[in-house]
Symmetry: D3
Subunit: 286 residues, 6 copies
Amino acid sequence: MDDTNITNAQRAKVLIQALPYIREYNGKIVVVKYGGNAMVNDELKRAVMGDIALLALIGVKVVLIHGGGPEITELMQKIGKKPEFAGGLRVTDRETAEIVQMVLAGKINKGLVSLINNMGGRAIGLSGMDCHLIEAKRYDERLGYVGEIVSVNAGPILDLLEKGYIPVISTVGCDREENVYNINADTAAARIAGTLKAESFISMTDTEGIKRDMNDPASLVSVVQVSEAQRLLREGVIQGGMIPKVECCIEAIRRGVKKVFIIDGRVPHSILIEVLTDEGMGTMFC
Amino acid sequence: MDDTNITNAQRAKVLIQALPYIREYNGKIVVVKYGGNAMVNDELKRAVMGDIALLALIGVKVVLIHGGGPEITELMQKIGKKPEFAGGLRVTDRETAEIVQMVLAGKINKGLVSLINNMGGRAIGLSGMDCHLIEAKRYDERLGYVGEIVSVNAGPILDLLEKGYIPVISTVGCDREENVYNINADTAAARIAGTLKAESFISMTDTEGIKRDMNDPASLVSVVQVSEAQRLLREGVIQGGMIPKVECCIEAIRRGVKKVFIIDGRVPHSILIEVLTDEGMGTMFC
Amino acid sequence: MDDTNITNAQRAKVLIQALPYIREYNGKIVVVKYGGNAMVNDELKRAVMGDIALLALIGVKVVLIHGGGPEITELMQKIGKKPEFAGGLRVTDRETAEIVQMVLAGKINKGLVSLINNMGGRAIGLSGMDCHLIEAKRYDERLGYVGEIVSVNAGPILDLLEKGYIPVISTVGCDREENVYNINADTAAARIAGTLKAESFISMTDTEGIKRDMNDPASLVSVVQVSEAQRLLREGVIQGGMIPKVECCIEAIRRGVKKVFIIDGRVPHSILIEVLTDEGMGTMFC
Amino acid sequence: MDDTNITNAQRAKVLIQALPYIREYNGKIVVVKYGGNAMVNDELKRAVMGDIALLALIGVKVVLIHGGGPEITELMQKIGKKPEFAGGLRVTDRETAEIVQMVLAGKINKGLVSLINNMGGRAIGLSGMDCHLIEAKRYDERLGYVGEIVSVNAGPILDLLEKGYIPVISTVGCDREENVYNINADTAAARIAGTLKAESFISMTDTEGIKRDMNDPASLVSVVQVSEAQRLLREGVIQGGMIPKVECCIEAIRRGVKKVFIIDGRVPHSILIEVLTDEGMGTMFC
Amino acid sequence: MDDTNITNAQRAKVLIQALPYIREYNGKIVVVKYGGNAMVNDELKRAVMGDIALLALIGVKVVLIHGGGPEITELMQKIGKKPEFAGGLRVTDRETAEIVQMVLAGKINKGLVSLINNMGGRAIGLSGMDCHLIEAKRYDERLGYVGEIVSVNAGPILDLLEKGYIPVISTVGCDREENVYNINADTAAARIAGTLKAESFISMTDTEGIKRDMNDPASLVSVVQVSEAQRLLREGVIQGGMIPKVECCIEAIRRGVKKVFIIDGRVPHSILIEVLTDEGMGTMFC
Amino acid sequence: MDDTNITNAQRAKVLIQALPYIREYNGKIVVVKYGGNAMVNDELKRAVMGDIALLALIGVKVVLIHGGGPEITELMQKIGKKPEFAGGLRVTDRETAEIVQMVLAGKINKGLVSLINNMGGRAIGLSGMDCHLIEAKRYDERLGYVGEIVSVNAGPILDLLEKGYIPVISTVGCDREENVYNINADTAAARIAGTLKAESFISMTDTEGIKRDMNDPASLVSVVQVSEAQRLLREGVIQGGMIPKVECCIEAIRRGVKKVFIIDGRVPHSILIEVLTDEGMGTMFC
């Protein structure tokens, strides 16, 4: 059925059925880690930004956090610099750090901000360099400016939320000596959600959620306890790119976030569906 | 199509399509005059109260104003008192005024408040007697305590809106000598909307709106200018119970309300459809 | 001596002698349970409402709580419904609950509000149905909608006090399924005073206070400790209608109210005399 | 009749009869010029300070302004300095200005402050030197540091009133070169009342008010229009020390004070009688 | 004389001599257009950022606005894109606009923010894309995304200033269709200063100021009236790069900025010298 | 080197070097006990008041506390009253207490306030009699009105600081019976600093600080621990007038002040040097 066939009577019912969910999240902080396919596909991207603008408008305090690996690689290639990886992490010399900063804080961040604003939101873009939002130090000398978070300054985020803005944050870290760090966005998002004592942390991925059998969508785990998730990690059921995502979700729970979700960013409006309907998408941690 | 067949993907689309309307009304005052069939039919009543709760939750400052003629008559009959009318107005002796007060401020008002609260709103019931909200004087000596509005005290309404409550107002007036007045709810609603400089005033009726031919639904006038409405009144196109309703709408426009609507209260969720969709229900005054 | 013989010099002295009491109660919450003769006698009623308006004006945060048994019975009789009692409590079927609601929240509440306003106060009438102020459940299945308090929502009371209004509360309770409950006003008043952590709770009765010998006014107990009051209850010294009143006073003390008084509502301006003079009227609990 | 014979019932009536006056002045600014006998007689002084404390406590924003000629002369005599006058004004050399400062801002001001505080008020003493409250220049070179007011800085007075304090102001002026000026207290009080746009300005004198015949108390003028007062000045009906007082009252009216009174400071509690009873003491300007 | 030879006694004197200037600018908005040599030379850059941090700390509301031409060219060259100019303006195709965005909003903006923060300031970086700060449209179709300012949204700047942050703004414009515009920083700075009704607008250049004879430093004009500046423009005395700068200063005056300065950015701490000493650096417009 | 030879470039460097100190004290409370030579020498006095005005302007919350022994003696002599001392304390009869009040609260306090205001500060003078700031009782019957502090009311001081004023406090105490007390200024200052939980307490003396050998300036102790200071007192190294000063510093530390300094009031701008430079003047307690 096409949505153009939905009558206004049905529209009204849909809206009214969202009421208990709107009520539940009213005035609460929801941190969204944005990434993966939803960041590459233009239509999905617009859908996500629309979701963010809508949630903010109906009284949810939304914080959007993003990385942007593929576009960093793209600019590096344009200027003829070969990306190098060690242990899955990008070796980040000073020039690379500068590229990371330009792409994340300049291109992607402001692009997302602009999209949200044009959809009726009031977004302001921040990076970890603004007001020492993310202070970092070297994670491993061999990796150069790959950063490990030292501290998160929640002040500016709370100030913007209080004034009714949607903070959009690129995970570029800084220290007290003008160095710039490439920070893993999942880690930063979980840490920020924890520092803000968010009601909810939503991690967008390119999977349906945690599955007991990677090849069987029916094996999706709707609700998982932290201890269970840790067991699935230990036993190797959770694999590959899902490992750090699950670890961040566990970390978010540990730091006091009330509800943590891994949702499928490939489904349009998956955030709205998760927050405003009775459908439990993906996997919820508790 | 049953709304149970609507997928969550469609729900999300419906919600996102409401975004521009939500944005338009965010933080604005909308005064709803509630009456007619929507007040008698229990299902319609619940639908309206749900609409009110939802609008308040997504940031609209809703004020609900109600009368309640049929229930007044009902209680009078129960206690063996014969209703009397003169020129279409209820002759109101002191005992009748007391009955009006009990039914409007006691039974109906608190019943509506309770419904809204149970649907997730935060409603507080007021009458024109609270903090001199509606000061009145006798309209015509022969009618007894039928009141003409002297002044409206917007203070308590604005105070409740500021604190996030939904004011539900029964139109019982008072004066400085302990007299109680039966006030026409349409007139009071238009006057209150004007005093509040409301963004929008919505009058619920039991018709589709203004029709050029009462028997032809296709003759519905979607948008009418005040001068045009006055001409339709003069020429007798607008008849019967619609005359005072249209007059109140004109009065609301004259007192500075930006958008004034007559909508069909017999359609479930007609308020939501008017406010949150692109469907122009009923007749809009401009 | 008639008060018209009091010179202005004497008036000034009287005012100045009230200064330490005004100072003591400035900005403090005083909950008054209004009832008995003071509610029936018109002159006494006006005196009480004047007292309330005056206290509010000089900076006391007054909350007035009332029931209204006799008028409920009166309306029931008018509509030919026979009041039924079981164990001293009114058997309350749905129709009776509706009558209770109309009489308390509609007639009495708004009448008191109107009187206070005309005496210079700024009163707003609430019922237990407004914003779930008094949530209740059935006390005893056989009694129908006689309610036992589940919880008190102090929020709206505090919001009104902050904005400078005098909340006048009728003790009609509600639940989450649209049921309406008849709540004992003494119990509700003591509970609300406790929830508000009031400085003072004043219960108006038709006696001088607790007497060791019911027939000897000279046996009045000016100050009573909770343990002593409990002993007097056990030993049957306190009898009849005074039993529940004394129990509520003990409950108020237990819930953290600082000063609790039973005063004689038959004496004009007994509230002012209690609060603003050195005369200890009635019985004080400590 | 002694006030000890007043019963508490009578006390309550007196209090309740003050209600309309309390209501009228609630939240309004009343500036009192304190002087004359009421400053010399210890009992009268205590009565005035009690009046001030009471008015502040019941919500009036009181500002007390005082001079203190006799005590200045007294200290001058103690240190063997001969007071000199020219045209009715004290010739004020630098040493005299210092004495004025010590007596007004040190002795009298803090003494009054202390009395008010001990009667339950919250007073803070200011002089015209605090935060450039009263900027002055020389009035006449021959008189030395006798000051003419250049400007009044209402900021600190309003800040103290907002925080709930009673500002008590000694009329010592200053300029930008460390000079100290002796300022006429009547003039300063009228000017300050005007700058504050006070509701009321009360000037305490040692007379009953304006009289058409100085020797006939019955010739007291209860209400006088500014034009009439000016005529009485021109015609010499108003004489001696009353001339500047009347001129200041006219000036206060001209600067926007709503109600201006000359009252008899020799009557105990004359301020309370004027403000809180129906007795029109002295002369009111309009 | 080396500053290390300055004694602490002298330091104290210097600080105390700055007092009248600190007082003059306390709580006032100062907009600084940062550019030229001060942006290229690392030592000068640190000096400017220190000046900004200091001014903010002593109570000045500083807004820093920057462009960044040379670094845009540098990145273009790195990725092998040839800069093209027409009529002195950079022809900006979509790819160039993206580069402008990355360099200004990503690299330079966050770099400055980081420097200020490490010097004790609390800076947050904004671009014209955040919350529609700078809405633009095409200036000339042939130039591509070179933008002309349509409107400035002062809201977010004022919100950040109120919360105590230093807004650092890169002049990248946006429209409602996701287009990004390259905006002249001088024009944007003057416009923003005007919209904010700034106390002062300081434009940093690589000259001493307006000179009557370009080759004679002694011909520096310290104070120039707008009409005089316009004459100097007309007569060709002002030449080359100074023309647009002078035009922007005139525009700032016209839009209500009180004091406008062109200062020499090549002199270390020229901002502090201009604001906190008696030395009138460069040219002041009035 | 004369400070007139300092170039503006050097001035800018001096200012910028003060930045870390300004940042450290921003928004913090600093209590200064003013006395000794700095109070007698007119040039030093102006320097101190300038320091106070400057610190307040750059965001430090300064509270100035003063006594004034010599001027009390001077006025006593003028009126022919012989000062009497017992155990180093002034025997204070009622007349002497009045003189203390006039000199401290009238002459010195308002003089300092005036000086600060003329240097750009916004000072308001208080005494211990304002709003019961310093409540006292007799220290020793034989000494008359020499007061021992009973309690400090920090409310008015914090209210003035919040509103941006500089409180200047004379240490005249009061009780609830109109008595006035002569309070030791060092003791009062330490006590007030403790009650305010000040960041810093600075005691101005006529020595360089604590010295191990009174005659050897080189034996100055820059930093002293409380236990060490107590030992120096016990062993008699600290002698004469320094004993009570050191005891007050220890008391301030004990009551929670973070940093306590004894500085040399004979050095011009010693406060600024202590607070805004790297020079550790005098002795710091920790």
